[in-house]
Symmetry: C2
Subunit: 159 residues, 2 copies
DNA sequence: GGTGAAAGCACCGAGTT
DNA sequence: AACTCGGTGCTTTCACC
């Protein structure tokens, strides 16, 4: 897991692409006063180094009818295998991310659902997994995403 | 927040772009046996409708030296303003997302940090916010992301 | 590691069915 | 709505710095 050396130019390229992956390389080149070929080569290198894993669309799940977010803490039975339960959890598509955690819960996951009723069904699925002792749900009343760019700037300051 | 009508073709387009936003429209057109112009028009419509909010890079934060993830539950003092505290929390760049929640905690957030020491500093920042009574931290030992595509498929089955 | 030019493609709007 | 088509502009490579 060696750290990869990124210079100021790489940061600026990532900065632009993180906001819009379809920004033409020619535009980036103009802004940074380098050639489009250079942008191309640098992006390719960052992809090869695994810094850039991929690109994805940001969709409005509310508009798709999926406005409900909940976090679910999972308590396991003493004898149960965390890995096994984690695999089962990841088979539920409405669970977007799951973490094995220290602290109160054994596993902790985020659920994206249509509404309360739908969420209930998903949580029942979680409860029914073999080895799960019980769950504890926190419903999100308001989500507030922080700008990815802000995190990047902070990271770059220190690299 | 009206639901937008997406047909099968729209789903397939999103399916491809969610994996790689730079997939040429001509490639998508070939796969779906439609013209590239149609792909273009449909993507544009989904952008205008606000279904597609934007596009972003997926970076390997571990490779950037930020392997530490924790979830922090925040308890507020009875008199404190949730909105005010939420704003303060969002000023910390290493907090990637914050939720107002029902249940145990008042606010619940995700922290991305370099290591334990760094996380400690961030959590101290949270603790120091006016109106915060105390916090409770859960450290992620293992993160397991679910495929975005899987969620989309499930959503599309029901639209 | 960067450039600039050139060839190959993709984008995207206009006009058509 | 979707198609075709053409102008414009983007990507990507390569010889040269």
């Amino acid at each position: 897991m060696a750290k990869f050396r990124l210079d100021e130019t790489d940061h600026q390229i990532l900065d632009i692409l993180i906001d819009n992956t379809r920004t033409p390389f020619t535009d980036i080149a103009k802004k940074l006063n380098i050639s489009a070929g250079t942008v191309h080569v640098r992006v390719k290198k960052m992809e090869e180094a695994g810094i850039i894993i991929g690109s994805s669309l940001t969709l409005d799940y509310k508009k798709l009818g999926y406005a409900f977010i909940a976090y679910v803490g999972v308590f396991l039975q003493k004898t149960s295998q965390t890995k096994f339960v984690l695999e089962r959890i990841n088979q539920i598509p409405f669970v977007t991310v799951a973490h094995v955690t220290t602290g109160k819960f054994n596993i902790f996951c985020k659920v994206r659902a249509k509404n309360t009723e739908h969420a209930k069904q998903i949580i029942f699925l979680l409860d029914d997994i073999e080895g799960v002792y019980r769950t504890e749900t926190m419903i999100s009343l308001e989500e507030s995403l922080n700008d990815k760019k802000r995190l990047m700037h902070s990271i770059f300051k220190e690299l």
